[in-house]
Symmetry: C2
């Protein structure tokens, strides 16, 4: 162990520099104009995996963005870990709100600022560094390892499910480990035992065949923007209760035990960190309960008509909204999507029509037994490296692959995330603490070394 | 008269070419980046007024866009006409929806396609051509003329009111004539006897200090887009009835006589021209009644969150809406604006705040006695030039200057518009029929010649 730790200390600057190189690559999967950058990210990973000593490496092409696979086999007597991560990132816009270039990493006050620093390039890279340290100091790995790094997580992992299902034998393992989440608060080791599911859709309210003069046509034509407002306002009330028929039908109720666990869980001070006067949650539930374990429906984008300077007195021809839901155990994504579609169609007023595009990929929620030896070992290694006992929590984020791995391989998934509440995932000025980068690698080295001894 | 008509025939191509030059100038007043083009338009007008023979011409500078004034005095025994028009136009975006360049006029199937062809460059230019014809054939004008062409109509005529009030003597006249409206249907001479008033505001719903990950924060934070939808949906119901407290309090009720007049008025076939399945109007009123004589509230623009390709799972920090109202006789614009502000503030849910920007300029509605000799002469000249009897109607459009002239000078305003329902004002592919350009000029020549004989 000392060897690996010493090795990490000695190579620390090089590893940090490598991370900077990785973060410089604009691997935005949502926007097709970044295609070339995606290839750069793939090449970066392939080169590094070769450098570490992986012999079996292959790049799985898809119709969107390739998946990087690598395998290192030590012995049939050892367990096999499937390490999952993603090299794609969210769009960086609005650029003007960044204090430094989103794709030119900069360390300020102990944090690395860059798109993807926390979600997920920074975290998946830590696994590779841990493997490098183990390999270079022991000449081999303590367990068999399969690496799976995709480029479509931020667009719903469009091709991953098919690949995993079709190549089940290739990706099969005894357990999966993912670092794509975070601590509930700074310096609080956190092991996730539950994630939310996900579904969504985009729809447009279509009115007249062109923008109209509001004076000449106002009073004869349904305004798509007002029609859109009416439809959206029927989907969730001001008590944050979703009004879509049957939305809560299959929701697994929260147990008393879990609710008290959540009541004790460390909490982010939203009012300060987000500069809001108060939190607003589903009637009858706390903010912690709603974010961790109750389903949500959010409008992610809404637009139509004139957005420029000044006034333009028009009735626009069209209005568009982007909606996504976070789901909890019991809810079926396809069923919820059907219910959303039904609701929108049922609440569309006369004089306009709706065009609905369903979010192609979705995921069920996931929960794991937090008494599993692997989960407990993860918590131990985490706590040791950060000198604080780990807590177990559920989170509102969705990692579709977790549910798919559960579905396809039926193996435990260790969710060991090193991010913090201040990382600003998906927002301008995303960042990741350098100390978490260092200690996280130590956590992973220890974890991988302990796994063979687990009963 | 023959002289003037002959002169017009002989110079017709030159006049059309001049109109093209005028329309080529990108005089967009809303967007400050077009400032230079505004100056070009002013110079075009000054040059042409000199060419016609106006001796007293001056350009009134403002803090936004200049106003062009010209005066031709014939005799104290003759009435004085104040000709009003505007050289500024609406933005041309979205450019991609135009079949030809918005600022490169093109004649197709008897129509001149260009931004401003109908609203209002094409129409104000017709007055100048009429004056040229009269001047060149008679060496003088049949009446005294004051010309007032502003550059801020599309942004609410920000400085006009102050100028007219401060320079009352300079602009004072016996009547005002404006061509900035249109026929109720192709080839149907139409004299306006009423216009709607106007007011509006823009407001933003402000939530967290940044865009948030919908998974990590959904359930704790009020979504500004949903809050915006709730606020907007409380302002007008699906029966198109405005729900803002007191909105209809001072509305002058429609008389039986007017309702039957409107029932007989020629109607645009909205379903065909706009490709909608049905018209939607205020409960208890026809589309004609609502567009002509009932107040409206419209959302002109609405935006917030992610508008790009694909999905971005955020709770946005902000949502913005642009609202305008068209008012009828009895309603006070400032009072209505106050009521809108009060309504928005009263309906803002917890967890978010609103920032409201009031539309700086507004206007009361206007109505004139359609038995006034000038109005009747306008209808006669119009009918004669187009070989069809003119109809009298009210319209939903707003021309603030009309109400201001009524307020400041207390003189009749002749609203003699030559546009058509297919002109696509404020929309891509705005156009104006060449025949209306020709016949409209004849109308104006005849009208100006008849005015001195009116009792």
């Amino acid at each position: 162990m000392t060897d690996s730790l010493t090795y990490l200390k000695e190579n620390r600057d090089r590893h940090l520099a490598l991370l900077h190189d990785f973060l410089r690559i604009k691997s935005v999967s949502t926007d097709s104009s970044f295609k070339g950058e995606m290839t750069k990210a793939v090449n970066f990973l392939v080169d590094y995996l070769q450098e570490i000593g992986f012999t079996e490496i292959n790049v799985q092409e898809t119709d969107k963005h390739p998946l990087v696979y690598a395998h290192y086999h030590v012995s049939d007597d050892l367990p096999t870990a499937l390490i999952y991560g993603h090299y794609d990132v969210q769009p960086a816009d609005p650029y003007e709100l960044w204090n430094s270039e989103p794709f030119e990493p900069e360390v300020r006050n102990g944090r690395i600022y860059a798109r993807g620093a926390s979600d997920d390039k920074g975290q998946v890279f830590m696994h590779l560094v841990a493997l490098e340290a183990l390999m270079k100091t022991n000449g081999t790995l303590p367990i068999n390892v399969k690496v799976c790094i995709e480029g479509e997580e931020e667009i719903g992992s469009e091709n991953l499910y098919t690949i995993l299902k079709e190549k089940k034998a290739q990706f099969d393992a005894d357990f999966c480990i993912i670092s794509d989440s975070g601590m509930v608060e700074e310096n609080q080791p956190t092991v996730l035992y539950g994630l939310k599911g996900f579904t969504g859709l985009e729809f447009s309210v279509v009115g007249p065949n062109r923008d109209l003069h509001s004076g000449l046509y106002g009073g004869a034509v349904r305004n798509p923007l007002m029609a859109m407002s009416h439809i959206l306002s029927t989907m969730k009330d001001v008590n944050e209760v979703v009004l879509v028929d049957g939305f809560y039908d299959d929701v697994e109720p929260l147990t008393k035990e879990e609710r008290s666990l959540m009541a004790e869980a460390p909490k982010e001070d939203y009012m300060t960190s987000l500069n809001i006067q108060e939190t607003v949650s589903e009637q009858g539930y706390t903010a912690t309960e709603h974010t961790m374990a109750r389903p949500t429906l959010e409008i992610n984008g809404l637009f139509g008509g004139y957005q420029g300077e000044g006034t333009k007195t028009i009735i626009p021809e069209k209005a568009t909204a982007k909606l996504t839901c976070r789901l909890v155990p019991g809810q079926d994504p396809d069923d919820i999507q059907d219910k959303l579609v039904k609701h929108i169609e049922a609440h569309t007023p006369s004089g306009v029509t709706v065009e609905i595009t369903r979010e192609p990929l979705s995921a069920k929620a996931y929960k794991v037994d937090f008494n599993h030896p692997l989960i407990n070992q993860a918590a131990k290694s985490y706590g040791k490296a950060f000198n604080k006992e780990a807590v177990f929590v559920r989170m509102g984020g969705s990692i579709p692959v977790v549910e798919w791995i559960d579905d396809i391989f039926d193996i435990p998934v260790v969710l060991l995330g090193f991010g913090t509440p201040d990382d600003r995932l998906h927002s301008p000025n995303e960042s990741f603490p350098v100390e978490n980068f260092d200690r996280g690698i130590v956590t992973l080295v220890d974890f991988y070394q302990q796994v063979p001894q687990l009963k």
